[in-house]
Symmetry: C4
Amino acid sequence: MSPLGDPADTGRSLLTPVVVVSRMTSLIGKRTWAIPEGYIPAESTGDEPALESHETVCVLNTTGDDASLEITVYFPDREPAGPYEKTVPAARTRHFRFDEFDDPEPIPRGEPYASVVESDVPVVCQHTRLDSRQAENALLSTIAFPDG
Amino acid sequence: MSPLGDPADTGRSLLTPVVVVSRMTSLIGKRTWAIPEGYIPAESTGDEPALESHETVCVLNTTGDDASLEITVYFPDREPAGPYEKTVPAARTRHFRFDEFDDPEPIPRGEPYASVVESDVPVVCQHTRLDSRQAENALLSTIAFPDG
Amino acid sequence: MSPLGDPADTGRSLLTPVVVVSRMTSLIGKRTWAIPEGYIPAESTGDEPALESHETVCVLNTTGDDASLEITVYFPDREPAGPYEKTVPAARTRHFRFDEFDDPEPIPRGEPYASVVESDVPVVCQHTRLDSRQAENALLSTIAFPDG
Amino acid sequence: MSPLGDPADTGRSLLTPVVVVSRMTSLIGKRTWAIPEGYIPAESTGDEPALESHETVCVLNTTGDDASLEITVYFPDREPAGPYEKTVPAARTRHFRFDEFDDPEPIPRGEPYASVVESDVPVVCQHTRLDSRQAENALLSTIAFPDG
């Protein structure tokens, strides 16, 4: 039985591609995640773009439905920006770089921010920063804070 | 309806600035957070102040009310210090540097400590250290431990 | 009484080796863990294999039964891979390197992925990356996200 | 009212030192914590002992009672070691270095391990590694996994 389909859907076509993963639960995660830390260093050292200073929110969607995300970005001294709309297809992961956000507006480098990810299906979020301001890179990462 | 206001406040002025963020819950987080790790390296390398060795507690307040924080700092061999009083305005994030705490007393560099953040509204806390004692910086970060 | 044995097994041989650990609970953890971040850098600097760029999932099994794991790996644009089958014996820890996964298929370097660990007994999972693309290494780590 | 004393103890001496921390809850944390990742690098660069490669478990005890800890260390291929007995006094934090554990036995460098911390009062635990095998140090940290 596929973790990606409805377990009750016993009448589906035998031609449907099926990923067989035993014991898999189909709804891992939560719909709301918060990341209080946010800072895209303004300088970088190293080959672009993989070694450019950047932050990502890694989103894992193990469900059988595409996840529609709305990401809101908070600042110290002005109104929040967003929502930034993203999609993570069913049974996929997407790692979004905050420095590539541009709609409705880019996130300024060198300034603190925070973010909240909201999804219409359960997902799991992890926050990572690569800091290459100096000659050697530095990394941080944490599972985001789940709500609800 | 704004996620930042009281959902029951249907009589407020139409002139109030409104941030429309769909599906946003207005109470993400907890009121108490603990950070057992704490250590502000005594030495630094690099441009001050961004690359000075430091630790921060990043606080995200997604509610419609200002968050009044009281931070208590614990040590290995003496009474706790504090409370350090901080504010995170409604729908804002603030990243507080422990090396800038001075009221009621500064936190000594080069000594272990821990901290507890208490807020009168739900917030989310993340702990980060930049260590620039050597020529290249190092980073660590984790969502703090929520209580209650 | 050993935390590693069946508390109801009062008839076992007195010759059985017993680890006496007071207050030990025998079922720490969860059966499902998610790690949204995953990226094995394609380049490395330093002595192999300890300083080769790699990611690990560290699994702790405090129970008295061997843990049979099934790890599923998710990608941005193709079907998940797996399950990768691993074992963590009773009262042991195993730190699995994703770059050594090969059955049913290796995980490509330099591409984002995510993973889900499922166990038939409760375990605890932590995710760590060593990035040695530049002359000095960088580290990240987080407890994985537990489900259920 | 002190968070460190019994709220019902209204008859205590007025000469008792009191730390006044408003809104402080006195029982933050859990009694069991797991850390699946563990590895003390065998080599170091930099001034000893602060920059020697090491791992710590940082324990915060916000209660009014001393915390008696029992730490059990797990390995890939042999029986667990311990318990290592430690104390964190009331309203104190202690950051224990695994490379300084010696009773009942030292923890070998350069080999994977994991650990479980058990306390007789609620505490909060965080795991940190400083890796100075190369010229520049690297850091990782995460809140440990709480049980129960």
